[in-house]
């Protein structure tokens, strides 16, 4: 080793200062990165409170405000059974915005440069980030389910189907995390990430089947948009699974969209990441 008297005398036992190569290295580095993000969640009390309040608020707000004024679509016990899967879907999709904000924060404080100067598997930075946001979304999901259950929401299908619905929603939001990763790497500030990561989610989640039956939309073109909206597909799939009804081809569509987003945006985001300080 060429390390001269680089550090103070009295060194500890030496582990070679190089990352392990290959897949094992990627796994270890990814866990380190995901761990870095997850550890700070309980320390950011404000964020934790808002991240908990938001889904609870969504569930209560939509249930109480829309519950009385929107006719329950046929085939559902009550509006909550129809609405809740839509709110679950919307909340996890909104949760993916943490990815762009988190990456933009790391960029602005120079942490990405620090990581890029370390001998770690570089892919672990984005994978670790998206995985930690997936875990965060799972926590949100549990909170939401509890509130929904208190309001009377029930799994009308099998427990397995309900688990499948939950997994599908989380997988879809994981795909969106990669879209958000590209956004976070592309914007110039945390504030910009905050708007760029959120703004398109409003039309995506509202022009969909999340809250209403798209058949009731007043313009034909809007109905077409809603029908083809990937968010409608994943909402319909989850709704059918939670209620034990026919899923049609919505599960296939949802998985295809999620896989497509992961493949395309992982490539784009990784390329962007490698050029970030160049």
């Amino acid at each position: 080793m060429t390390a001269t008297a680089t550090s103070s005398p009295g060194l500890v036992e030496d582990t070679p200062p190089t990352g392990s190569a290959g897949l094992a290295g990627i796994v270890v580095d990814t866990l380190t990165e995901a761990g870095r993000h997850l550890r700070i969640i309980p320390r950011n009390i404000e964020l934790l409170i808002f991240a908990t309040i938001q889904p609870v608020m969504f569930v209560l707000l939509f249930s109480f405000v829309f519950g009385g004024s929107i006719a329950t679509p046929s085939g559902f016990r009550d509006y909550d059974q129809y609405l809740m899967p839509g709110i679950f879907a919307q909340t996890v999709v909104f949760g993916s915005a943490f990815t762009s904000i988190g990456i933009a924060e790391d960029l602005s404080k120079g942490f990405i440069d620090r990581l890029r100067s370390l001998p770690i598997a570089q892919s672990s930075v984005l994978i670790g980030r998206t995985i930690s946001d997936l875990v965060r979304n799972m926590i949100t999901f549990v909170t939401m389910l509890l509130v929904a259950f208190l309001l009377g929401f029930r799994f009308e299908g099998s427990l397995l189907a309900a688990l499948g619905a939950t997994a599908l929603l989380l997988f879809f939001s994981y795909g969106l995390s990669w879209v958000q990763a590209l956004i976070g790497l592309s914007v110039s500030s945390v504030e910009a990430a905050n708007s760029a990561g959120f703004i398109w989610m409003f039309p995506m989640t509202f022009v969909s089947s999340a809250f209403i039956d798209p058949e009731n939309l007043q313009y034909a073109w809007l109905r077409t948009v809603a029908d083809w909206n990937p968010f409608t597909k994943v909402t319909n799939a989850a709704r059918a699974l939670y209620n034990g009804t026919d899923t049609g081809n919505n599960i296939e569509w949802s998985i295809a969209w999620a896989v497509g987003m992961i493949v395309v945006f992982a490539v784009l985001a990784t390329r962007k990441f490698n050029q970030i300080s160049d």
């Binding site: 680089t6 103070s8 582990t15």
Partner: protein, 323 residues
């Protein structure tokens, strides 16, 4: 022994030539200063040497490894502290240091032991279990540098380590950097503060517009523009010729009369301070009353002005905005 070497290093962003053929040679175990004003290309040079940016042309060899050919090997031998204190604010100082140990796949025990050493070294023991966001600017920078040293890098790159610090923290930071140098760490630091390069760096490369325009020790650079000058002010105007005669043999060149003051003479001298007493004795012996004798060493500001034709203009703002 050479720690860092660059040949004809170029980095162009479209029409902007951030680096335009930079040649550097940093000896092992020395503190090397890369001095230049805003936009001179200092940060770009560091980014290329630390594998963050790819050179448009030219070669950079760090610790014997070509950065373009084997960036990962370079990364395991360097430490980088950028312009922004890149610490994880919600983790404590100790956790931040252990985190870097984890990136290097150290065992838990090694992570802890190394963190303890560095906390001690950078005077952060008392703050070790506080979140980094409660740290002052100077403490953050110290933690930042400590994080860069976890894996005992062969070469430490410090990009403007004191920019944005208040004067007291800046001087404290100088002590830490000087200590690293004394212990034999190779440090390449960039700075736009001439005084900083003067105090810390054994060798300085002055860069402007992506090119090296001068290199040497602080003294060599100062000598390039003519060494020390003495200014003698006398009390009575009629004694000016006598005074000139009295000091002439002690100076290195022409004794000039100050255009703005008929009572003041100036001349280049060698080894400033020791000449002054002799000069005063000579003037006294000639019966000339002296009002003031001043020896002026040229500053690096003078060097910069002479070399580039413009002032170095240090600014508090962050240089070379992120691209």
């Amino acid at each position: 022994m050479v720690a860092v070497q660059t040949y004809g290093l170029k980095k162009h962003y479209g029409d902007t030539k951030a680096l335009d053929g930079l040649d550097l040679e940093v000896q092992r175990g020395s503190v090397f200063g890369l001095l230049g004003p805003n936009g001179a290309g200092k940060t770009t040079a560091v980014k290329v040497m630390t594998t963050l940016a790819r050179p448009t042309a030219g070669t950079a060899i760090v610790d014997g490894i070509n950065v373009s050919e084997n960036p990962k090997a370079v990364r395991s031998r360097i430490g980088l502290t950028g312009q922004y204190a890149a610490v994880e604010e919600r983790l404590t100082g100790q956790e931040n240091l252990e985190l870097v140990g984890r990136y290097f796949h150290y065992s838990k025990a090694s992570q802890k032991a190394r963190a303890a050493e560095l906390l001690e070294m950078f005077d952060l023991v008392d703050a070790a279990s506080r979140p980094a966001k409660t740290y002052s600017g100077g403490m953050r920078r110290r933690l930042d540098i400590a994080m860069s040293l976890v894996a005992r890098p062969s070469i430490l790159f410090l990009d403007e380590p004191t920019t944005g610090l208040d004067p007291r923290s800046r001087i404290a930071m100088w002590d830490f950097i000087a200590k690293l140098g004394d212990e034999g760490t190779t440090v390449l630091l960039t700075t736009q503060y001439l005084e900083e390069a003067d105090v810390l760096a054994e060798k300085i490369a002055v860069i402007d517009s992506g090119l090296k325009i001068a290199e040497g020790t602080s003294d060599q650079l100062k000598d390039q523009i003519g060494g020390d000058r003495v200014r003698v002010s006398i009390v009575k105007r009629e004694n000016i010729a006598k005074a000139r005669e009295a000091i002439a043999s002690l100076t290195m060149g022409v004794v000039e009369q100050d255009p703005e003051s008929p009572l003041t003479l100036s001349a280049p001298i060698r080894a400033g301070e020791r000449v002054v007493p002799e000069m005063i004795r000579a003037l006294d012996a000639a019966g000339v009353d002296v009002a003031d004798v001043e020896v002026r060493r040229p500053t690096l500001d003078d060097v910069f002005l002479t070399l580039t034709g413009h002032q170095a203009e240090p600014q508090e703002s962050v240089e070379e905005a992120r691209l």
